[in-house]
């Protein structure tokens, strides 16, 4: 009888044990490729780019590489201008300065890594004309007291209306930051234009599926064709504010009119990052406009508006 039970247990153990095995569905044609993340903005004279390499899944001992001696060139296809990026050792990225970005013009970026096996990559973008913010209406302004004395948070709700785009499709990225007023012991006033968002719980109140919060960077992405009356609303929550130490009076709203390359790449990347580590999600098809590589080359134009906060 004991033997029967033992056999039964073993049989059932076999049955209930799930199996995990490595599997490789590749056909052997994959090659590691260069990855370029770059965008240009018509309102600055400095453009940046990140360059790295991809890693093939199921290959051994491959590592991400971040070339520092690659040659990255940008060309204005509507005139003869071109420039070469320099590598910034401090910020660990490529930078080009004093290269004019003109809305409406088309630009091409080319990157290659000499003395490596990686194929040359390139991408094209057309810089969109900027769109202005028509109106920012404060819906609510709430101060939330915290446990510690003299410490509070601000919760601010805004409705934002954008001008009618010149054409569709039209995409935007909205970034919000604050000007800090910091008082030191001698009552000196320093103003900081702080682009790092100390605004937590950036919540979309209204906008339907036109508006998406980004996982990998600040701000939200907007698809203008899905907005109703070019309007949406958001809620911002500040970090903890200590009375007399740091308060803020102005909020800066930066509306970046972005091209479809910027929009699609960051939307798909954000979805992938949000879904990573969760038990159930749908596959995200990656976007790239880089030929022979991964990543994106996009462009934007920015308009900035500010509101006072009481």
């Amino acid at each position: 009888m004991r033997k029967i039970i033992y056999i039964l247990v073993c049989v059932l153990c076999i049955g209930l044990q799930s199996c995990t095995d490595g599997i490789d569905l590749r056909d052997g044609s994959e090659r590691s490729q260069l990855v370029l993340e770059a965008f240009i903005c018509s309102d600055t004279d400095q453009s940046e780019a990140h360059l790295s390499t991809s890693v093939i899944i199921n290959s051994q001992n491959q590592r991400f590489e971040f070339p520092t001696d690659a040659i990255i060139t940008i060309r204005d296809l509507d005139n003869a201008n071109s420039a070469v990026y320099d590598y910034d050792n401090v910020r660990k990225l490529y930078v080009v300065k004093d290269f004019e970005i003109i809305p409406g013009n088309t630009y091409e970026i080319i990157a290659n890594w000499p003395n490596s096996d990686y194929q040359e990559i390139h991408g094209v973008t057309q810089v969109p004309a900027k769109t202005e913010i028509e109106e920012i209406e404060e819906l609510s302004n709430t101060t939330v007291e915290m446990e510690s004395p003299e410490v509070s948070k601000k919760v601010l709700d805004y409705q934002i209306k954008i001008s009618e785009p010149l054409s569709y499709p039209a995409f935007y990225r909205l970034d919000v930051w604050r000007k800090d007023l910091r008082l030191d012991g001698e009552n000196q006033v320093f103003w900081f234009e702080n682009k790092l968002v100390h605004l937590e719980n950036f919540k979309i109140l209204n906008g339907g599926n036109a508006v998406h919060e980004l996982e990998q960077m600040d701000g939200i992405l907007i698809d203008a064709s899905k907005l109703e009356n070019n309007t949406f609303s958001i809620s911002l929550e500040s970090d903890e504010l200590t009375d007399g130490v740091n308060v803020f009076e102005d909020l800066m709203f930066g509306l970046q009119t972005i091209d479809s390359e910027f929009y699609n790449y960051h939307l798909t990347t954000s979805r992938e990052l949000k879904a990573a580590g969760t038990s159930f999600n749908q596959p995200v098809v990656s976007y790239t406009n880089i030929v022979n590589g991964f990543g994106f080359f996009g462009s934007m134009s920015e308009s900035i508006d500010s509101v006072s906060v009481e």
């Binding site: 076999i14 044990q17 790295s52 991400f64 999600n281 098809v285």
Partner: protein
């Protein structure tokens, strides 16, 4: 004088003859030809040629009648009817010979109706869709789902055949002078079950109109099964055109349609979740089954509300003759059923049945602990399900029957596993929790009425409910070298709650042998409470928790109501002995909270048979008010049912099919069928994290809406040879979907698109008390979205890996194939019959992939790898059952 006395004796003894045999003397087929021979000579020659003894008195035959004919492979009876036409003489069967007698009803033109019920002779159980036809099949019909039939025949001596799969054919010779009520009782095959026929028989004309496969439920005990649990889904999965996920997970997908596009009917009531164990086993307790059919080609107008197929499962009413029951225990579950008459008059009956898993009661926890220990994990898993069926039938009077039916079933899955991984710089403790419950409750009350011999009515009032709560949690605690600790939490809660309240009124009207009308009305009030919420806390305190209750508190379930009103009419028309058509029309009106929709759905099918070849074609317009948001189509209880709204409109489809079949011999059938489907307004989850479904979110706007196509060719071969039965089928198919906001707007393969499928089934009677069965199937792997490369993106200046999927469902999992083997041993006692089964599922331990995930190599944590996850390895089973 002698001959006269002989004739009188025959006439007196045989006003009503019943035969229970597989073939009668007049069904024997011969080739016979003659040119201008006198009738008596023809009959004698026919007798010699066929070997059938034909006795007759030459004086009753007309003189000077000369006969010329050329018959190839015709039955003796057909030839006799042809040569005796207009002679005032007919034949009748006496034992193994035929006797010619005078036909008192020659040229009688009046039509008589015979109606009644086709019943199981042992239990009194009505037999649904039994074939009822006259000898030359000029007139034929089938019983409805309540066993009622109505057949119009010319006045006179008529032989009526009653046949039903798994039962001996019954032949009644009737002297019809007026409308007659007659119940026919068929006897189940007394010895072992008849050989399994996995596909439709060529003789059964009505089912062939719609690519309708009658699943031989009496044969369900012969086939191999998972865990010894004979199951109707296991039988269905072996049919052509039916695909599933690995090992049946994901439920059944028919001809490129998704799981939610199957209308699964439980005694006529739609069921939302028809399976246990994530799709592997159906909710239909095999002890309760009476009949099951799968329609996949074209659809009569009485069926609607889903796009792809109809599976109509009828359960027993309970024996009105005697108490009976069964007990069964297998590797997976135990089962018990009791049925019998209520009261003394045997007009009423009851049935009560329970099935439940038993491993969880005494073993599963310990086994899971043991297995996790071996794998260096700490945890436990427990799973259980049950089904409870109850039915009561009352025969109120000769024409009215009342039935109450109740079903309750539930699955409960709990999983809590912790893995500790010490690395150089940190200690990681990962905990995964799954806490899931889901189940159906169905109640119905039915009143059946024989309004007259040609008109039958059923009134049904029902409620059908489905409830699902699925909670998932991933908790990762990290302790770094500097002893700082962090906790990240990712969780989700899926909820699907549906309550339907419905009423339907159906009529069957058979005015004559060439028409079978069905028409009716129905109304259903749907009440939906879907819900889906994701919650994450990437940098939480070690004391932080997310529980199912905390998520429920955050979720405000949308409450969506809707009403569906339906009217239909259809007619099965026999245009000639060879040609049948079945036109129909269905009208649906949907009234939602903020919208309404209506659809007119024409249906048409045609069937033509000549000798041993038949042709079949059909077209159907279908609509579907309800949608299932399937997460990867695993059939996991994370699929959420939602109704149509003003944004998510009802799905629509056109379905076309055409086929040709051949009866190659008495024992072999071959048929080919092609189909094409066009779906519109199908929905899906968005890419990435599943769309939260909450009263406060605009979830409807986030769901992509698209279209789909499916097409394919099926080839079926069945062969019976002595004590063996073989069936084989091959399907070549393609199914895809297109959504503007998925996959960059490009078309991609449907999740369960299996380009090639081959299935083979075999049953062999070893002797009177033993049989062997096996199944083998091989099919293309299902499409998957697998990244081949990983890149980095910069988040706050820090590179973060991101997997790159270049196209949705562009790769395929490896081939799926599996062999199942089984033996059944029977013993019959005077008071009971016992059966012992032993077998093995997945006999050569094929590790069929269930899904693929990206992970890191345990030995080199910086290397990315793809891992295949398999579920069911080789699984032996034993089971014992006792039927009394």
């Amino acid at each position: 004088m002698k001959n006269r006395l002989f004739n009188i004796w025959i006439a007196l003894c045989l006003p009503f003859l019943a035969f229970s045999q597989d073939i009668t003397p007049d069904e024997i087929r011969v080739d016979y030809a003659c040119v201008k021979k006198d009738l008596a000579t023809v009959i004698v020659e026919l007798s010699k040629t066929s070997g059938v003894n034909i006795t007759f008195n030459p004086e009753i035959l007309p003189r000077n009648k000369l006969v010329s004919l050329n018959a190839k492979n015709k039955s003796v009876g057909t030839i006799l009817n042809a040569v005796l036409k207009d002679t005032g003489v007919r034949y009748k069967i006496v034992g193994n010979q035929l006797v010619l007698v005078e036909n008192e009803f020659e040229n009688a033109e009046e039509i008589i109706t015979v109606s009644g019920y086709v019943l199981d002779s042992l239990s009194g159980e009505p037999l649904a869709y039994a074939s009822v036809y006259s000898m030359n099949k000029l007139e034929g019909t089938e019983s409805n789902e309540f066993g009622f039939y109505s057949l119009s025949l010319p006045k006179g001596i008529q032989r009526v055949y009653y046949s039903y799969l798994g039962y001996k054919k019954e032949i009644l010779e009737l002297r019809l002078k007026k409308d007659t009520t007659l119940n026919a009782e068929l006897t189940p095959d007394a010895v072992l079950n008849e050989v399994l026929i996995l596909d439709s028989k060529i003789d059964e004309i009505s089912q062939d109109l719609h690519s309708n496969t009658f699943l031989p439920v009496d044969q369900i005990w012969s086939i191999t099964s998972l865990g010894g649990e004979s199951d109707i889904f296991g039988m269905t999965q072996m049919l052509s055109g039916v695909s599933t996920g690995a090992d049946g997970f994901g439920g059944i997908n028919v001809r490129g349609g998704s799981y939610d596009q199957n209308l699964i009917l439980y005694d006529g009531i739609p069921v939302y979740n028809s399976s246990h164990a994530l799709g592997v086993i159906s909710i239909f307790n095999p002890s309760t089954l009476k009949s099951a059919q799968l329609l996949k080609g074209s659809f009569p107008a009485r069926y609607g509300g889903r796009l792809s197929s109809v599976m109509n499962v009828l359960t027993k009413e309970g024996s009105t003759r005697k108490m009976k029951g069964d007990l069964s225990i297998g590797t997976l579950a135990f089962r018990t059923t009791l049925e019998g008459p209520l009261g003394k008059k045997n007009n009423s009956s009851f049935m009560l049945s329970l099935r439940r898993t038993h491993l969880d009661l005494w073993l599963l926890n310990n086994i899971s602990n043991f297995i996790y220990d071996i794998g260096g994990l700490d945890g436990e898993t427990n799973y259980s399900f049950y089904d409870l069926n109850a039915k009561i039938n009352f025969k109120l009077n000769r024409k009215h029957k009342l039935q109450f039916s109740w079903y309750s079933g539930k699955d409960d899955l709990d999983n809590d596993v912790t893995k500790t991984t010490p690395l150089l710089a940190e200690l990681t403790v990962q905990r995964k929790v799954i806490d899931t419950e889901w189940g159906n409750k169905i109640f119905s009350a039915k009143l059946n009425s024989e309004i007259n011999q040609k008109l039958y009515h059923n009134l049904t009032i029902y409620s059908s409910g489905f409830d699902l709560d699925n909670f998932n949690l991933t908790q990762i605690d990290r302790t770094l070298m500097d002893t700082s600790q962090t906790r990240s939490l990712n969780s989700s809660l899926f909820r699907s709650k549906i309550n339907d309240l419905g009423v339907r009124s159906d009529f069957d009207f058979v005015p004559n042998a060439n028409n079978f009308w069905r028409f009716g009305l129905s109304a259903v009030r749907h009440n939906f409470e879907p819900g889906l919420i994701n919650s994450s806390a990437p940098n939480a305190d070690l004391s932080a928790e997310i529980t199912i209750d905390s998520l429920k508190n955050q979720l405000v379930f949308p409450n969506i109501k809707g009403t569906e009103l339906t009217a239909y009419v259809e007619n099965e028309i026999k245009l000639s002995q060879n040609l049948y058509i079945h036109p129909g029309l269905r009208y649906n009106l949907v009234l939602g909270d903020k919208f309404s929709d209506h659809s007119l759905e024409p249906r048409f099918s045609v069937f033509y048979q000549k000798n041993d070849v038949y042709l079949r074609a059909g077209a159907s317009r279908m609509s579907q008010y309800l949608h299932l948001l399937a997460n990867g189509g695993f059939g996991l209880p994370t699929d959420v049912w939602i109704p149509s709204t003003d944004i998510i409109r009802p799905e629509k489809a056109w379905i076309f099919s055409a086929g040709i079949g051949f009866k190659l011999s008495e024992t072999m059938n071959l048929d080919f069928e092609a189909y094409f489907k066009n779906f519109d307004r199908v929905i899906s989850f968005s890419e990435g994290l599943l769309t939260p479904i909450d009263e406060d979110t605009n979830w409807e706007q986030d769901l992509p809406i698209g279209r789909g196509k499916a097409q394919g060719l099926e080839i079926n071969l069945t062969k019976r040879y002595g004590q063996s039965n073989i069936s084989a089928n091959y399907t070549l198919s393609e199914s895809n979907r297109t959504f503007p906001s998925l996959n960059g707007g490009n078309t991609f393969a449907f999740r369960f698109d299996r380009t090639h499928q081959f299935k083979f089934g075999f049953i062999q009677k070893i002797n009177k008390n033993a049989e062997f069965s096996s199944n083998w199937q091989i099919s293309s792997g299902t499409p998957v979205s697998v990244p081949f490369q990983v890149i980095t993106t910069f988040v706050d200046g820090v590179p973060v890996p991101v997997a790159q999927i270049e196209g949705r469902n562009e790769q395929n999992l490896p081939l799926y194939h599996r062999l199942d083997l089984g033996f059944n041993f029977y013993n019959t006692y005077s008071w009971a019959k016992q059966k012992f089964s032993i077998g093995v599922y997945n006999a050569y331990n094929r590790e069929n992939p269930f899904y693929i995930d990206i992970g890191t190599d345990d030995k080199i944590p910086t290397d990315f790898i793809t891992e295949q996850f398999s579920i069911l390895p080789i699984l032996p089973y034993v089971s014992y059952s006792l039927a009394f």
